[in-house]
Symmetry: C2
Subunit: 357 residues, 2 copies
C-alpha cells in the first residue's frame, strides 16, 4: 500500500481523485505500480495492469493493492472492477471505499465474482490524499482550484490597474496547462471589466490547445456582448456561462448542473475572497513574481478575519504539482507554491475501515 500511495501522489488534483495501485506477488514482491493521471486517462488499476501485460507478468496469484475502491462504472474509461476480474487477479486490497453514486459497488461486485476483497489498509493516509475531493463529492459540487498570480508584496495590479503581465512566460504557461485540464474557468465581474480575458487555454505561441474549458463569469452585472469571454472557441455560447450571483455556492451548483467536475477560479480578489471565506477552495496555486509595487489591489479581498490566530491556514502540497516538482519551486523568474487547506476538523472516512492483517 505504501507503493500505491506513493504512486497516487504522482497524480493531479481535480475532477477525479488521485489514486495509486500496486500489483504484489504472493510472496509480497512488488510487481508493478500504476497511477491515475487525471480525468479521461487510465485509472490506476488499469495503468498497473497495462504495465503487467507489457512485461508479461503472471497475475494468477497476485494481489491488486489500490488506494481507493476499484470503480464499477463506465465513464470516460471502463470499470476497473471488470478489468481486475478479467486479468484473473484473485485478491484485492483497497484503502478506502468509494461512496460516489456513479462509481461505488466495485468491491461488492468483485466479491460476488469470487475475488477476495479487503479494505482499510492505511485508510487514514489514503483518505487524507483525497479528503477535499471527497468533501466536494459529498457537497455535490465541482472540485475548486484557486489560482493567484501576484507580486512579491501580494498585489494583483498596479495603482493604475495595469496587471499584464505580472508573472513571466513560464508561470503563464503553467496557468494555461491548468486551464486545459479543468472543466471550467471562472472569473468575477471586476476581472472581466479590467482585463477582458478570453479565458481560453493557449499554447505559448497563442494557438488554442485542443481541450478548452467552459468560460464562466460570476457577476450580477451583465456580460457585454463584446467581451472576449463570449467569443472564444465553441459553437455559439455553449462554452460560455454567465453566473449572475455573488454566492460561490450558487455558482458551483450551476456549474455542477452543467456537468463541471473541476473549476479553476482565477480571480479577482473579491471572487477569491468569496470562495475562501466559504471554505470552497480545495487547492491553491500561487504564482508570485519578483516585483514590488507597494500600491494596488491585494490578491485576496477581506475575509472577515480579525486576528492572526483565525487566519486561513494552508500547507504545501506535493501532490498534483506540475512535473512532480516540490510544492515550492522556481518557475522561470517567478515562484509557484502549491497548497491545500489545513482541514478544520478530522475528515470523515467514506465507510469505516475494517481490520486488515
Amino acid at each position: 500500500m505504501r507503493a500505491a500511495l506513493a504512486a497516487a501522489r504522482l497524480g493531479v488534483r481535480g475532477a477525479n481523485p488521485v489514486v495509486g495501485a500496486a500489483l504484489v506477488s504472493a510472496s509480497g514482491e512488488l510487481l508493478h505500480v500504476g497511477h491515475h493521471r487525471g480525468a479521461g486517462t487510465d485509472h490506476a488499476e488499469v495503468d498497473a495492469l497495462r504495465r503487467a501485460r507489457a512485461a508479461g507478468t503472471s497475475l494468477a496469484d497476485a494481489t491488486m493493492v489500490v488506494t481507493l475502491e476499484p470503480c464499477h462504472h463506465t465513464g470516460r474509461t471502463g470499470p476497473c472492477s471488470r478489468a481486475i476480474l478479467e486479468a484473473g487477479i484473485p485478491r484485492v486490497v483497497h484503502a478506502v471505499g468509494d461512496r460516489t453514486d456513479a462509481a461505488h459497488g466495485g468491491a461488492a461486485w468483485l466479491a460476488s465474482q469470487g475475488v477476495e476483497v479487503r479494505h482499510g489498509l492505511l485508510a487514514d493516509e489514503a483518505l487524507e490524499l483525497n479528503d477535499r475531493w471527497f468533501l466536494a463529492q459529498e457537497q455535490s459540487r465541482p472540485f475548486v482550484t484557486l489560482k493567484l498570480a501576484q507580486t512579491l508584496d501580494g498585489r494583483v495590479a498596479a495603482a493604475d490597474g495595469t496587471s499584464q503581465w505580472i508573472t513571466g512566460a513560464a508561470a503563464r504557461a503553467e496557468g494555461h496547462a491548468i486551464r486545459t485540464r479543468v472543466d471550467a474557468v471562472l472569473v468575477g465581474g471586476g476581472t472581466l471589466r479590467t482585463d477582458d480575458p478570453s479565458l481560453t487555454a493557449r499554447a505559448p505561441d497563442g494557438t488554442l490547445l485542443e481541450r478548452q474549458p467552459l468560460r464562466a463569469v460570476m457577476s450580477t452585472r451583465p456580460v457585454p456582448d463584446h467581451a472576449r469571454v463570449r467569443r472564444g472557441p465553441g459553437a455559439g455560447d455553449d462554452r460560455f456561462v454567465h453566473l449572475p450571483t455573488h454566492d460561490p455556492r450558487a455558482a458551483l451548483d450551476r456549474l455542477h448542473a452543467l456537468g463541471v467536475s473541476h473549476v479553476l477560479v482565477e480571480g479577482g480578489p473579491t471572487v477569491a475572497a468569496a470562495f475562501l471565506a466559504a471554505d470552497l477552495v480545495d487547492e491553491l496555486v500561487l504564482h508570485q513574481a519578483p516585483l514590488l509595487l507597494g500600491d494596488g489591489p491585494a490578491s485576496v479581498a477581506g475575509l472577515g478575519i480579525g486576528t492572526l490566530a483565525a487566519a486561513s491556514s494552508w500547507r504545501g502540497d506535493p501532490v498534483g504539482v506540475p512535473g512532480g516538482d516540490a510544492p515550492v519551486a522556481a518557475v522561470g523568474r517567478d515562484l509557484r507554491w502549491h497548497l491545500r487547506p489545513v482541514s478544520r476538523g478530522p475528515a470523515q472516512p467514506p465507510g469505516g475501515p475494517s481490520a486488515v492483517p
Copy 2:
C-alpha cells in the same frame, strides 16, 4: 576562474564581498578551491592555501586564480597579498580590482615583489557577483539586507495588529541566523510600538547567540525607556542606537560612522518602503507563511509606483542562501525567497579590465 566563481557563490552576502579562489597547476589542473564564508572568517585565498597546505600540494609553479584582487590590509584577518607571496606562488590572476581604500593595492604590491599579476578574466561575472556590494562601498554606506516576513497574501499583521508569529520556527531560526551575522538590525517606530522587539539574535531555546548585532530604531519619536530594544545584551546603551530620522540614507550614514558594514532592515512596511524607494536595499530575504488574512497591513507601504512597468524588479539569487539551497525553498511550513535587485543600468567596473589570454 570558473571554479573560483563557483566557489565564490558559496559565500554569504554582507559586510564583505563574496569571493572565490582556485589554485591551478602549470598544466592547468585544478588543485584546490576556497571561498570566503563571511566577515571575520578566512578570505578565499587563505582558505585555498590552507587546503593546499593540508594536502601537501606544491605551489612552486601554481597560479592563484581569484575573483577579486587579493587584499593588502590587516582587518579581522591578515593580508592575502602577503599570504600568497609567503606560499611561494609565482602567478596571480584576478577578475576585478579592489577599489576599497582599505584593501586595494594587493596586486601592485605582489607585482613589486616579483609575482606575475594579471586581471580581467571573466570580469563581468565577477563584478555582477558583488555589484551591490561595490555600490554600497562607493556610497560609503553599509550593505543593506531587507527581510520581510509575511502571509501568502502579503500581510505582516492581522486587522487587530497581531503578528506573532506569522512564520514558523524554522523561518524564525533563519532570521536569527541572519541577525547574528550582521553588524546591526534596524526597525522603525511602528514596529517598535507594535511588537516591542528585543532585536537580539537568539537560539531556538531563547538563549542569546554569541555574536549580537547593534540594535537600531529609526524613528523621529523617542524610544521609551522601557522598550526591550534598550535592554538587550551589551554594556549600558552601547549596543543600541536611536536614529531620529525618516531618511534611510541619513540612517545609513550614522550606522556607517558607527562602524556598521552590514545592516539588516526588519521593517515595518514604512521603513521597508523608504529603503526600497531610495534603492538602498542590496539583498531581500522573503519569508512567507501559508496563511491568508485578507486584511491587515501589507509588508511594503507605498513606493510611489503608479504602473506595472515601473515596478521594483528583483530576481532569485542563489548566492548567500542558507545551507546552499535554491533561491526558492521550503523552510519548515513556510517558504524563503532570496532575491537581489535587478540593476537599473550597467554596473561600472572598479578599474577597467585588461586583456588576459
